[in-house]
């Protein structure tokens, strides 16, 4: 077996596992930030400003002498929290609307489809930018803005899957048994489309974390000095010529979580696809 075959096989079967390990490790580090972070993320040390990476400061220090490793660890808490909560909210709202819309059909369904089409014609990032700018930059508003960008995508998907489920015999059987619409929609249809939703949610979480870090990079996130990944990259970018490593470490942290979540999402999709190649 050639090296490329082994690598490729482990990618195919191990992608899900690798991705999960990366993501779980990041979550564990984020949770343990108060214990493992070597310094207070906001503690300034004017005597060691923009210091190179060293044994004392593994990732170096920023323009205020703050320890970058500690800021990346603490920043993970905000980024992962925003990603998780906003995706969950967006998925829940979008799925409920989508299932109802697909199940009942009719004029309301058509209006909802038209509304999602219009909302989806705005780029996700531009929409997020606009919403945070309008609502004001705070943790809650950030979560709301990112959740709102997820809703139309999940409406469309849940609606599409519900449409095909509605034609299945088991739904007729439920009706014949006299079950109510709510019971059929959420106890019988929903479980059958859940796997697709979980797959898309895991990919969407990557997208939510990307949006959060991007907004933080532009300066539209939790106000400073709170550490967020995008914000730490921004501090590095502002000192790019003097201290290029500043931007590199938080960038790699973001990239690692993105790769982990995408591997998980792709792995879940392959695993849940009966036609699996």
């Amino acid at each position: 077996m050639s090296a490329s075959t082994i690598l490729q096989r482990s990618l195919r079967s191990g992608g899900l596992v690798t991705g999960a390990v990366i993501v779980v490790a990041m979550i564990a580090l984020a949770c343990a930030a108060p214990l493992v972070a070597p310094y207070d993320p906001n503690a300034q040390d004017v005597l060691s400003v923009l210091a190179d990476p060293s044994a004392a400061h593994w990732f170096g220090t920023d323009q205020f002498g703050r320890d970058v490793l500690s800021r990346v660890l603490w920043g993970a808490r905000i980024s992962l929290y925003v990603g998780f909560v906003s995706t969950s909210a967006g998925v829940a709202i979008g799925t409920v609307i989508g299932v109802i819309s697909g199940y009942y059909g009719g004029i309301v369904d058509r209006l909802i489809v038209a509304a999602t089409d219009v909302l989806l014609s705005f780029p996700q990032l531009i929409m997020g930018l606009l919403l945070v700018a309008v609502l004001g930059a705070s943790l809650t508003n950030l979560i709301i803005a990112i959740a709102v960008t997820a809703v139309p995508a999940f409406i469309r998907m849940a609606r599409g899957s519900t449409l095909t489920m509605r034609e299945r015999d088991f739904v007729d059987a439920c009706r014949a048994l006299g079950y109510g619409d709510l019971r059929i929609m959420f106890l019988h249809v929903l479980p059958n489309i859940l796997d697709e939703i979980v797959v898309m949610a895991s990919l969407w979480m990557a997208s939510a974390i990307r949006t959060e870090s991007t907004l933080a990079f532009i300066g539209l996130s939790v106000p400073p000095p709170t550490a967020t990944w995008g914000g730490v990259v921004r501090d590095g970018f502002d000192n790019l010529l003097d201290a290029p490593w500043l931007a590199v470490f938080p960038s790699l942290a973001i990239l690692a979580v993105m790769i982990g979540l995408n591997l998980m999402g792709d792995g879940l999709r392959d695993a849940s696809d009966p036609k699996g190649k």
């Binding site: 490729q8 219009v118 014609s121 705005f122 990032l125 930018l129 991007t214 931007a247 990239l255 792709d266």
Partner: protein
């Protein structure tokens, strides 16, 4: 073909109307008095009244909506609150830079993505396939500002192959193109990832079809079978992703323009946000939405060109 194009253009009108209405509502839901936001809370009542008059905020919401639509029908996007220049001029000044960047990144995306995807499908499970999968995984994982910063550190600061600041006033065409390389690679990276994925899976499907076996058994050369017979079937999905990701591309252009310090629509959007220039913001949203509706329309028309079956259906 012309009938198909006209039909498709007519279909874009209701979508445009809906998009314009959404933009109008979004800008109006800004909490607080816009005159206080624009002038600050120290502004005198007279100044605020004057601004309200100037912005047409004293009219009913329906009248404002009517004015808004009429203005756009006349090709007028209003004036910027901060510079007082017509928004159309502001947009026209930076649009060439954004278009240039988008086209360059589309070229990067297709020129690398298509051959990589075809190669990966041809040598399934081989080295090329393995490389294509890792490359596209990394490509979709990079937030645009992260890849931009890493490219800048690697190729502009360390290796000094390209300028750190992609100034628009570079004298020669060669310098201009040199400044365009890193931004378009950055913006094209995501495109490469998606195009590779779609091309690979489309080619895998096409190469398994009966007519490919027929073509092979006729003794046609391998290259002809792959590129003429199989690849034609992949064109539609490739055009779809390219069209679909034009929206993402516009979002990523914002970041690319910030990191590489290029003028463009994206940077103008951030400026408008920072200066709370709501008329400029509204105008830019209209332009962005127009661009995306236009891109969707062109995508559909391209379907008709690459796949004759689309027109008739």
């Amino acid at each position: 073909m012309i009938r198909f194009i006209i039909k498709r253009m007519l279909m874009a009108i209701p979508i445009l109307w809906a998009v314009l209405t959404t933009v109008f509502m979004l800008v109006r839901v800004v909490p607080g008095d816009p005159t206080i936001i624009i002038l600050g809370d120290q502004a005198s009542q007279a100044a605020r009244d004057q601004l309200r008059q100037q912005l047409g905020l004293n009219e009913s919401i329906l009248a404002q909506y009517g004015d808004f639509l009429m203005q756009i029908l006349h090709g007028d996007l209003g004036r910027s609150l901060t510079t007082n220049r017509p928004i159309l001029h502001e947009v026209a000044a930076v649009l060439p830079f954004t278009i240039e960047l988008t086209i360059a990144s589309l070229i990067v995306g297709t020129l690398i993505g298509v051959p990589l995807g075809v190669l990966a499908a041809e040598r399934r499970d081989g080295f090329a396939d393995w490389f294509a999968r890792i490359f596209s995984l990394v490509g979709v994982s990079f937030p645009a500002f992260v890849s931009a910063i890493l490219l800048l550190i690697g190729f502009a600061i360390q290796l000094r192959w390209f300028p750190v600041i992609s100034s628009p006033r570079d004298n020669s065409i060669l310098e201009h193109l040199r400044a365009l390389v890193l931004p378009s690679i950055n913006l094209g990276l995501l495109m490469v990832a998606y195009v590779t994925r779609v091309t690979r899976s489309g080619m895998l499907k096409a190469l398994g079809e009966d007519y490919i076996r027929t073509a092979r058994s006729k003794g046609l050369p391998h290259r002809l079978v792959v590129w003429r017979h199989a690849f034609r079937n992949v064109l539609v999905p490739v055009v779809t992703v390219v069209g679909l990701y034009l929206g993402v591309l516009i979002g990523n252009a914002v970041l690319t323009e910030i990191v590489f310090n290029r003028p463009g629509l994206g940077k103008l959007i951030v400026t408008a946000l920072n200066q709370r220039d709501y008329t400029l913001l509204q105008g830019l949203m209209v332009v962005t939405a127009f661009a995306i509706v236009l891109a969707n329309m062109l995508t559909d028309i391209t379907y008709g060109l690459v796949d004759p079956r689309v027109k008739t259906s």
